[in-house]
Subunit: 210 residues, 4 copies
């Protein structure tokens, strides 16, 4: 499969600016990728250390399956490229998005003892690919954070293997990962999971009244 790099790069930059405006990619945090081709693997990837509110298509680089830059860019790819590559391989995903929102950071902390967040009974769940009813249990695993990217990529791989139905996962006190067949679906999944995490967080605060 091959795709138009410049088209993917501009979609990716547009999503980055939209998510930065919502406060989900502040301080150059987070990263975004989309599959350009699979054999050999080429990913369009956001560069490291760039203000996502000003990301342009021209800044989007391409990397191979070992996270080496294959495009003509001097900058390095995101430190977390290995996680994107693992998700693409394990899930056959066409796009992977990673956000740092206040609510996903908070809930990855508050629910760390439970090992994840169970989300059920919300209509919004139907926006997750393959979910047909609000009577659905979505498990959002929480993985301990680490700076050892190869080790963390293996933990992510194990989590994906042990949870075949999940649409995303949290890294503790770090952020949210989700993915999709393409950038539009991955964006939809992030918006839905961010919405549900904020709803659960605010409900937690409101319910423990009286």
């Amino acid at each position: 499969m091959s795709a138009n790099i410049s088209e993917l790069a501009s979609q990716l930059a547009s999503i980055a600016r939209s998510f930065h405006a919502r406060g989900w990619l502040l301080g150059t945090s987070g990263n975004l990728s989309a599959v350009v081709q699979r054999e050999p693997l080429r990913l369009a990837m956001s560069p490291s250390g760039v203000d996502k509110g000003e990301l342009t298509a021209a800044q989007v680089l391409t990397i191979d399956e070992d996270a080496r830059v294959t495009s003509d860019h001097a900058v390095k790819p995101s430190d977390e490229s290995l996680l994107h590559i693992r998700i693409v391989k394990e899930r056959g995903a066409g796009a992977v998005l990673h956000t740092h929102s206040v609510w996903n950071t908070m809930l990855s902390d508050l629910y760390s003892r439970e090992g994840g967040v169970n989300i059920e009974g919300y209509e919004m769940l139907k926006g997750l690919q393959g979910v047909r009813t609000h009577e659905h249990n979505e498990w959002l695993p929480i993985i301990s954070n680490s700076q050892d990217m190869p080790a963390l990529a293996n933990t992510v791989g194990d989590t994906l293997n042990n949870n075949g139905a999940i649409h995303g996962f949290l890294l503790e006190r770090h952020g949210l990962y989700s993915w999709g067949d393409n950038l539009a679906q991955a964006k939809r999944h992030i918006e839905i999971l961010e919405f549900l995490l904020e709803t659960i967080g605010r409900t937690l605060i409101a319910k423990t009244r009286g």
Copy 2:
């Protein structure tokens, strides 16, 4: 009555983009409609599964009273078209809007045992058509969520018949419906009800701290 489809479609797309920016239509959730003509009924309706932040007038389709697409679009209409049609028929509404906000989702859950949310004493209520004073009780019924659209449409019909004065209703853990004589009035009603639900939700949290 007949109206300019392209004008309605562009108004509808503009409202969709505005509400998406506020986080009320994330992840392709929610839907919007406006009456094009009544005999036979034709509704301008947002397509299913589209990013409301990027909705264009050209994407807006038209449907008949059985929710069949009558315009030249390959996509299907929103699953909830039957609810829009029922509201249009029961209320003679010219436009129907449905939003998924964090606050309307939360309150439809927190107040489900009460069967609805009673809103009274707020000046903002005067923005609801026909309300002349803040000394008004607005009942916002909560309907159990369902994936059986014909059955849900009947429940909505009963709710409208049993509550002649209401300006909207909540679907439990799902979202808010409101309507108006035209798109501008329906937009006004959504903005007012969203405002009041956020105010009630935040006040609930603040009051139970003192």
Copy 3:
């Protein structure tokens, strides 16, 4: 004193769109005015029932000291024009702004028994005209809401007379009024008071812990 009506109208429309984006003028709520001339009094005033997110300079009307429209507009002025006129006369204000935010609505309810909100010790207070230090007590009176505009205008007049130093007041479960020598100063005062009310509201929730 005379001013350029079209310039005032475009400033007024720009502020309306900015405040609507922040959620302070949802559902056609709130209103804005600026003095065009004083003898005889002419106010540039936002029309009633208009979406403030789409307000244009051409829609801004002018009224006299009895709130009669003097410009060539078919629409009626805001119901609350009498309050604007009273504030202009009592304070010699050049502009009056009225917002409906979630936080000002909440605090006008939560503090109604105290008769107002006392704001002290915040650097932000220095943005209020004439305040030189954060060691300042700003009293924000809360006036009971009413639909009798002449009576409410008199209560507002009494409140202004009895509180010579105030920069604004709240109407209970209704909203915030502030003013300034000109539109820029009135906008600054609204932004500051909205900021301080949100800060006090969130602090109230956080402090009542443990």
Copy 4:
């Protein structure tokens, strides 16, 4: 070292508009500066009393090490220019940014007895220059607020000397200061610290409910 004033001024104005949109510079609050040259010191500085949502590059003035305006502007520089100058000298910073957000104001109040906020264990910390892991303790000192700028500048100088590793500090019930080698890095630091303060504030509220 010399830099392009107009380029710095337009970057500075762009950051001001972005932060105003987030509600971090409401009511003409806050100020921004960037080093134009060091020998003799020249700072590009936001003017006092200007709406940051409408700041233009042409309004940005330049000051010397005594906070005297050296550009052809009639307005005065920010009252807090002395703090910017001190930070530039103590840290060799290329840019200094000061924001007034609801969350930084709240936490500078709630944590004043502790003398600061300790931030640890968040991935977001890695966005602070020189931080390599989330297993990092960032101390954000809280300095008592004052209107005596020379005295406050000295306290700031002492705080910087006594806390060599800090990336910012809070002024009690006033706001946040951060800095960087250039405007992009300073903007990144502000976004990260604002994000972390909001996360800590919301977590504080949520945890004390369980």
